[in-house]
Structure formats: structure tokens, C-alpha cells
């Protein structure tokens, strides 16, 4: 995504260079190939420019008649994000009805958890999925988060790529601001029903309930209904939905979508279970379509350390982004720009970079031409810089990893490791791994079960494309006493859990299902796996030794009497002598066993 982003910016820069206005972020809500950016009122949450849509399929010309440029120009027109989505919904995880259900729940849950954590609230989530018909489901996700102010509700849920997270570098579940509005749009497309939002920001404040649709042409929210909720909603014992709707603060999202429900690991059930594992500080109540109620109680009574927002590290910035930052910065000169807008660039280092780029120290960033920006970019790459701060991440931690595993998997042995942060492309990240082994509940002769997380979100699809899976396969499990066929997952009664936390997790696609295989990331995963593997190896070997010793001990107990019987039969010795022979032999063997 970032790459295309960059391309667009470069292209725009060449043609018109309009972006000097610093008053407003680029009005990228309207994504257009040629559209002039119009200043939009600055929103509390920024909107994301969307580049991916630039390269959209244009209406294909009829091949027989030759067209003039003018003819073509008549056909060329803007394509909205929403239109793009309706045609390419698989890119966002809505490719099958079963996956659509999962993705919808996932987007809502991600938003709820992120919101709660940002507000410092221990999350309590209620997820209710009910079947309307076999192919139509209602999804309700309610949280106890901070709520959303009335004015923001329509845009957050009714406009694609509207969100708070794209412009920050901070460990969070959501990234682009696509997810929940995409789910709403999917519901609208498949059932015609609007997405329904209820939110309250405090017990003394009125809540609001909206029904929102998306104008897919314009990528704009359309408010279908807007109702104020009483300050104290009446909790009635009989009306279950009314009780659920009552909250002191928080947000409740309700969608009706075309979907199918399946049980099992790759379904919503698995997703919620795994979410509980990776978020031991969250309490989750889940009512499945068959009416079964799952309660995942809170294991950790404290919120995880809040992740910090960081400025980008110069080494992780590409030329296109650099150009954009140059044009948007508030800094007066290029040296200050480097110092203030990036992390790990001190004043002297900034001067060093500018000098190396052959630019005047006081040059205005907005005036930097593409060539100059490129010189700056090269100078940045050539300069040695401190690694980005790594204390900005929020790991789950070894103890809670094991707690989370123990809650869902019964096993004999657990181990976990939480590695120190490392860096890929200027982004800090860290890897955690945990495993559960043995105990009779896990199948012994099947491949180990793999559970993947990115920023505490379970990854259920595209297992084989994921850097985590690749690292597991590449790890030599035989070293730790576990069977493994060439190029395969290890075969053992084992559940493996790997978590990657980063300010920006590199996914292979927008649907966020697999982590891209950066060598730095692969290396850290491997080291984490080796760490838990070593602990497991020790356990297995100790177990084998004990089993072996036990077997030998029982051998002595079992077979020595037979030597006595045989000798008695052959030599006709009396019982007393027989007992003496047995006792002596037992003693001799026990002694030699201990000396082994």
C-alpha cells in the first residue's frame, strides 16, 4: 500500500504540485486521479489518502473502434473507494460468506479493544451472532469503551478510509480505517440493511443511535435515522436486547450481513477464543448462532502497558512519503524538519544529513524539488542513525502468554518467550512465542496446531503465506526431540503460538491475514521459536530419562523373581536360598543402575 501511495504522490507532484496548503490534510476522501484537492474541514480524526485506487480498472474500451484521446477522456472518471470495494471485496476479507462473518466480527472487535485500551478501560465485550436465515446473520458487538461523540459516528462507520490510526506509528489492531465501514458496506450490499450504531460517552450524557448507509459513489455516509437515547436507558429484565443496549459508556455496533456460520478453528468461534488468549486483560462474552454462550473471563486485571506513538524513523521512510512530509511539515527549514518530524535525528545529525545532501541548511522544506528530496533521501540512507525507540511496544509478556494458553489448552508443559524489540525498515517490532505440549488432550500423531497473532489479533487465514508459518517450518524441531517431516510443521501433541507486535505490522494484503517475510522478522521469529523449543527439549529429554529409569526399575521388579524360580527348578534350592539369591541380585542391579 505504501508503495502505491508514494507513486501517486510523485505523480501528483509532477503535474500540479498543489499541496503546499498546510491548512488541511489532503482531501483524499475523494480519491481521484485528476481531481483537484479541495480543502475539507479538518476532522478530529484524519482521513487517509488512498492510492491503491489510482490504478483502478477503467471501463474497457470496445476494441474494434479506434478512440481518440478526447473520446477516452470522456470515459475517464473518478472511481470512489466504495465503488472499488464493491468490486474487490475479497481484498478486504469478504470473499466468502463464512469469511465475511469472521471479518465483520473481527473488525468490530478490533475497534472495540483498541478504543478501550486507548481510553485506559479494561475491555468487556459482548458478541452476539444470531441467525436470521441460513444465509443471513445479525452481528452485534458491544464494548464498554469511551464511546464516540455524536458528530463522528456517521463518518467513522459510513466512510471508507476514515480513521485515526493510519497516520500514526503506534502498535494498534486497526491500521487503515477500512475495516468496520467495509463491513457496513458489505452488509448494505448483501442485505440492504444499514449499519446500526449506538454509543454513549458517559452515564450522564445522552447516547445516540444511528442507522447509517454509505453512498458508495461519493464514499459519504448517509444517516438513515438518528435517535437520542435517554440518559438512563430502562433496563428491563425481559427484553434481552434492551438490556444489552443499556450501557454507561461504550459503543454497540449492529450489522445484518449475508453470511454462513461454521464451527471450528477457522471460524468466528476460533477467532474469539484466540482473541481471548492474546488479550488476557479482556473479558469476552460470546453468544454463538446456535445459542451457546461462551464466557472468556479476564485473566489479567491490569491493562497492558500502553503502546506509545512514535515519529517515523528516517530509515523506514520511502521517497514518496518523504516528499509528502516535506510538503506538510510545519517546520520552517529543512534541518528543523528532520529534527522534529523524525525520531532519532538530533540537531547535529540533521545538519550532517542536510550537508551530505548538498542542500542549504535553511532551505524551506516546502520548496524542495523532487531532485532535492531524492538527494536528501539518499543522504538519510547513508547516515548512521540510532535504532528507533523500542520501548513503544506493548508485549503480552511470558507470564500472560502462558496464562492465556493454559486457559484454552490443557497440556503437560508450557513455555513462553518474549523477545526484545528489533527493527525492520525503521519500524520497531517484537516477537513473542509460546507453546503447550503433551498431556493426552492434544493429538499425538498430527501436525502441531499453529496460532498466529499480529498486534494481539488472531490471524486465521493464509497460514502458509505467513512469515510465522515459514519460520516454524524452517526451525529444526528434531533438535528438541520432536518429529518433523521435511518442509512441514512439526508432528507433536503441541500448540504453538506466535505474536508479532509492531507499530506497523507488514501484512501481505489489506485483509491482514499473513505477515510479510522480512528477513529481520523471520530471524526474530526463529530465535523466539528456538527459545521455547529449547525449553521444551529439556522437558522432553527429562521425561524420556525418567521413563527409561522407571522402565528399568520395573524390569528389575518384574523379572528377577523369574530368575529365582528358574534356578530353584533347576538346582532344587529351598525358598530361603531362592529369596536370598533374588535379594542379592536385585541389590547388585539397583546399584549398577544408579552408577550408570
Amino acid at each position: 500500500m505504501a508503495k502505491q501511495h508514494q507513486l501517486e504522490l510523485i505523480a501528483r507532484d509532477k503535474t500540479e504540485r498543489p499541496a503546499k496548503k498546510k491548512t488541511a490534510p489532503k482531501a483524499a476522501l475523494k480519491v481521484a486521479s485528476k481531481a483537484k484537492p479541495k480543502a475539507k474541514p479538518r476532522a478530529a480524526r484524519k482521513a487517509a489518502p488512498v492510492a491503491a485506487l489510482k490504478a483502478l480498472p477503467k471501463p474497457s474500451p470496445k476494441p474494434i473502434v479506434a478512440l481518440t484521446a478526447t473520446d477516452m477522456a470522456a470515459r475517464q472518471r473518478e472511481i470512489s473507494v466504495s465503488e472499488f470495494f464493491t468490486k474487490n471485496r475479497h481484498l478486504l476479507g469478504f470473499d466468502s460468506p463464512a469469511k465475511a462473518l469472521l471479518t465483520t466480527v473481527k473488525e468490530a472487535v478490533d475497534n472495540s479493544l483498541d478504543a478501550c485500551e486507548e481510553a485506559g478501560i479494561l475491555p468487556d465485550l459482548t458478541i452476539v451472532i444470531s441467525e436470521i436465515t441460513e444465509t443471513r446473520y445479525r452481528v452485534v458487538v458491544q464494548d464498554n469503551g469511551p464511546g464516540i461523540v455524536k458528530a463522528q459516528i456517521p463518518r467513522i462507520f459510513g466512510q471508507l478510509l476514515y480513521g485515526s490510526k493510519f497516520h500514526t506509528l503506534r502498535q494498534a489492531r486497526g491500521q487503515q480505517g477500512i475495516g468496520i465501514s467495509a463491513a457496513g458496506m458489505y452488509g448494505q450490499l448483501t442485505t440492504g440493511k444499514p449499519i446500526r450504531i449506538a454509543s454513549r460517552t458517559g452515564s450522564s450524557k445522552p447516547g445516540h443511535e444511528f442507522e447509517i448507509q454509505i453512498d458508495t459513489k461519493r464514499n459519504q455516509p448517509v444517516v438513515v435515522s438518528d435517535r437520542e437515547l435517554a440518559v438512563k436507558a430502562p433496563p428491563s429484565g425481559d427484553d434481552k436486547r434492551a438490556v444489552e443496549r443499556h450501557m454507561e459508556h461504550g459503543t454497540r455496533v449492529e450489522l445484518e450481513i449475508e453470511a454462513t456460520y461454521k464451527k471450528g478453528r477457522h471460524s468466528v468461534d476460533g477467532f474469539i477464543e484466540q482473541t481471548a488468549m492474546a488479550n488476557p486483560h479482556a473479558g469476552i462474552t460470546y453468544v454463538a448462532p446456535d445459542g451457546e454462550r461462551h464466557e472468556y473471563t479476564r485473566v489479567a486485571q491490569e491493562l497492558p502497558k500502553a503502546p506509545l506513538e512514535i515519529k517515523p524513523h528516517p530509515h523506514g521512510v520511502e521517497l514518496g512519503i518523504l516528499l509528502k512530509m516535506l510538503h506538510e511539515t510545519k517546520s520552517r527549514n529543512i534541518t528543523a524538519f528532520l529534527h522534529h518530524d523524525f525520531s532519532r535525528v538530533s540537531g547535529p545529525v540533521a545538519e550532517e544529513i542536510v550537508k551530505a545532501a548538498g542542500l542549504p541548511l535553511t532551505m524551506s522544506p516546502g520548496k524542495a524539488a523532487r531532485e532535492q528530496a531524492e538527494a536528501l533521501y539518499k543522504a538519510i540512507q547513508a547516515t548512521k542513525l540510532m535504532a528507533p525507540q523500542s520501548n513503544v511496544l506493548s508485549p503480552i509478556g511470558e507470564e500472560l502468554l502462558i496464562e492465556g494458553l493454559k486457559k484454552q489448552v490443557t497440556a503437560d508443559f508450557y513455555s513462553a518467550t518474549s523477545r526484545s524489540p528489533a527493527v525492520y525498515r525503521g519500524n520497531p517490532f517484537l516477537v513473542e512465542a509460546a507453546l503447550a505440549y503433551g498431556g493426552g488432550h492434544l493429538p499425538a500423531d498430527e501436525l502441531a496446531t499453529m496460532i498466529r497473532f499480529a498486534n494481539r489479533v488472531p490471524l486465521l487465514y493464509q497460514q502458509s503465506a505467513c512469515a510465522i508459518t515459514k519460520s516454524v517450518v524452517q526451525t529444526t524441531w528434531k533438535t528438541y526431540g520432536i518429529q518433523q517431516s521435511r518442509g512441514a510443521m512439526p508432528t507433536a501433541p503441541m500448540v504453538l503460538m506466535v505474536h508479532i507486535a509492531s507499530v506497523w505490522v507488514p501484512f501481505t494484503s489489506e485483509s491482514k491475514e499473513a505477515v510479510a517475510s522480512y528477513p529481520e522478522i523471520m530471524k526474530e521469529i526463529r530465535l523466539a521459536l528456538q527459545d521455547v523449543g529449547r525449553k521444551l527439549g529439556l522437558y522432553i529429554r527429562r521425561g524420556l530419562r525418567e521413563a527409561d529409569a522407571e522402565k528399568k526399575r520395573s524390569y528389575i521388579e518384574k523379572y528377577i523373581p523369574h530368575i529365582g524360580i528358574a534356578l530353584q527348578e533347576i538346582l532344587g534350592i529351598d525358598d530361603k536360598r531362592k529369596e536370598k539369591v533374588c535379594a542379592t541380585l536385585k541389590d547388585t542391579l539397583e546399584r549398577s543402575r544408579k552408577n550408570e
Partner: protein
């Protein structure tokens, strides 16, 4: 002959008991039973066991086998003392009373039995253990003098009086006596060829004794022919398939014994045996239909040329086997039927018997 095995068992058991009481780990020493541990005694004509032994010391790891070996020895002592016998299968079932020390498969008990047999360097029959298999069939000019199992009275068995059937060699042949005026004993690999020769009264025509081995000869069969040939001083001719199995497994085991039972080869071999056919040269001389040698045949032939002390000693044999391998074919006894069903009786055997000096050793 069998009573002296009891003192041997007792002596071994005593040694075990004493070393236990001295707080030492007792050890049993078994001869290594393989071709690598035999030498060919050309003059005496059999494989003699060499001194290599394997030790089994009683340790935590060997305590189970050790206990089983001792219990098998105790069973043997009981059998001999009560003048009883047990087949290998029966011995396996007796072990089912041994609780934890019982055998789970008969192969396990057979191995222990073979070990005990080798340990005392006796024949398993002397230990009271008998094989399941039958010994072989006999027809021709021979009277076997056996005893009635109940009365002990001598019984004369005339092997010319079995019609289209045959006399069955018993498991224990040690006390049999013989009367015969036959000129030779013809030992045959397959029951099919034996039946043809019996049906057409070949033994009458050639004045001989016919013995069917039915594959690799049992110990009883070998011992029977050995005693018969020794006592009556008559030559023994062997007629088997012309392939590596017939030559290196059947004929060699018959004549000089095997690696596995090396400790008793001296008694269970027939050194005076000579190889009548089918020789590799016969395949050419008699234009016999053939089959290609299988991979396992070639492997067996090469193994014999490389490791078998008997073939290494007899150059004629080495040449013959090399010849067979170079032709890459094998011929069965019954291949002679290609020239007429009774060609073997009318042409092949008479021509062969006329020149025993040409037989392979």
C-alpha cells in the same frame, strides 16, 4: 544320549547362582551362530563352529531375556527328566504361565530356544524340544527297523510297500536300524519329482532309495540319510533345481550343515553327498527351458561366492556358480519334462548315474 544334558544345565545354573551370591553379574556365553563363525573341514566334510562367542551379562537391560533363558533351561530339564517332548509351539504356550516373563510371539521363544541349544552345544531334540515340521519322505529298497512306542518291540518297515505313498522320516532317528541292498540314495528337492519317480517305480529300475526333502532338508532328514549312508556304506546323490537356492541353500546345508546350527553340523550333515544336477552345464547339454535369474538369486549367488567357506574351498563349485550367474538363467528339475514327461527317467537320470565321477562335489 540325552540324559547328559541335565548335568550341563545344572552346571550352568550353579555358575549363575554362585556369581549372584558373590554380588557379581552372571554371564552366559553363547557361540555366534552364523556363517562367519564356521570353518569348512574338507577332510571331515562339514562346517565346524569356530570359537567366537557372544556374552550375555545379566544387567538391567538384559534381565528379561536372561530370566527367559533360565526358565527355558528349567523347562528343558523337566522335559528330559520326565522323558517328554514339547514342540516349539508348545514351549511357547508353556511360557504363558510365566507371567511377565512370558513370550509374546513364538519367534521370541524360538530364538531363546536356539540360544539354549547352542549354549550347551546339543541338538534341540536332546533338550526335549522337537520341531513341528516333518522330516521327509522315503520310498525304495529299504527296510527301516523301528520300535513300537508302547511295547518297545522291533517293527520292520518295508519302504517298497507304500504303493504310491511313502514312509515318513520320524523326528528322532537316532535309534533306527536299516537293511538295504540299494546301490545309491537319490535325494530329491521337490515332492513333484519324487512322486513321478515313485509312480513309475524308478527305485525298482535303478535299485535305489528315493528321499524327498521338500525344500531345505530338516535336521531329521539329514541325520536319517547320514546314518543310513554311514551304516550301509552307500553313495548319496542329490537332485535339485539348477538355481542359487537349490545349490547354496539346499545342497550346501544338506552336505556340510548351516551357519545357524553350526554347533551340531558334525552330526547333521551328509558329507558323502554328491551333486547330480541340475548343473549349470546341464542347462546347455540338455537344452533346458529356463527362467531369468531374479535379483535375489544373483545376490544369493554372489554372497555364496564371497562368503561361503564351502564354495570358496571347491573351485569347481565357484566356476559352476559363476557360470550360472553369467548365463543369467535358472532351470528347475521339472524343466526336463519339456522333452517328454518321462525323459527324466528314461534318459536324464540313467545318463547321469552312469558317470558319478562327473558329479560336482
Amino acid at each position: 544320549m540325552s540324559k547328559n544334558v541335565v548335568p550341563k544345565i545344572q552346571k550352568e545354573a550353579k555358575a549363575v547362582e554362585e556369581s549372584i551370591l558373590k554380588r557379581k553379574k552372571p554371564t552366559l556365553r553363547f557361540p555366534v551362530r552364523s556363517l562367519a563363525n564356521v570353518r569348512y573341514l574338507a577332510k571331515e566334510g562339514y562346517f565346524e563352529i569356530r570359537g567366537r562367542k557372544k556374552e550375555r551379562t545379566l544387567t538391567v537391560n538384559t534381565v528379561k531375556t536372561f530370566a527367559q533363558t533360565l526358565r527355558m533351561m528349567a523347562l528343558s530339564k523337566t522335559l528330559v527328566e520326565t522323558d517328554d517332548i514339547a514342540t516349539k509351539r508348545e514351549a511357547y504356550y508353556v511360557s504363558k504361565n510365566w507371567d511377565e516373563a512370558r513370550f509374546l510371539e513364538q519367534t521370541e521363544s524360538d530364538t531363546v530356544m536356539d540360544d539354549v541349544e547352542a549354549l550347551f552345544e546339543v541338538n534341540r531334540e536332546q533338550l526335549g524340544f522337537v520341531p513341528e515340521e516333518k522330516g521327509g519322505d522315503v520310498a525304495g529298497n529299504l527296510v527301516v527297523i523301528d520300535k513300537d512306542p508302547n511295547t518297545g518291540k522291533a517293527i520292520r518297515i518295508d519302504c517298497t510297500k507304500f504303493g504310491s505313498g511313502a514312509y515318513s522320516i520320524p523326528i528322532s532317528v537316532e535309534d533306527l536300524k536299516f537293511e538295504t541292498k540299494a546301490k545309491f540314495i537319490l535325494v530329491i528337492e521337490t515332492a513333484g519329482m519324487f512322486q513321478r519317480l515313485v509312480k513309475h517305480g524308478y527305485w525298482k529300475k535303478a535299485n535305489c532309495i528315493l528321499v524327498s526333502m521338500g525344500g531345505v532338508p530338516t535336521r531329521a532328514c539329514r541325520r536319517f540319510i547320514r546314518r543310513l549312508a554311514d551304516l550301509q556304506k552307500i553313495p548319496v546323490y542329490v537332485f535339485v533345481d539348477g538355481d542359487p537356492y537349490g545349490i547354496s541353500n539346499i545342497y550346501r546345508t544338506f552336505k556340510v550343515g548351516s551357519g545357524n546350527a553350526a554347533h551340531i553340523n558334525e552330526f547333521f550333515c551328509v558329507p558323502q553327498a554328491r551333486f547330480l544336477g541340475i548343473t549349470p552345464q546341464d542347462i546347455i547339454d540338455y537344452k533346458l527351458p529356463t527362467h531369468p535369474l531374479k535379483e535375489v538369486d544373483v545376490k544369493r549367488a554372489k554372497d555364496a561366492l564371497k562368503n561361503d567357506p564351502f564354495f570358496l574351498h571347491h573351485k569347481e563349485w565357484s566356476k559352476a556358480i559363476e557360470h550360472l550367474v553369467s548365463m543369467g538363467v535358472r532351470a528347475e528339475q521339472q524343466a526336463l519334462a519339456a522333452h517328454g514327461l518321462n525323459y527324466v527317467i528314461d534318459e536324464y537320470l540313467p545318463q547321469k548315474i552312469a558317470h558319478p565321477e562327473k558329479f560336482l562335489p
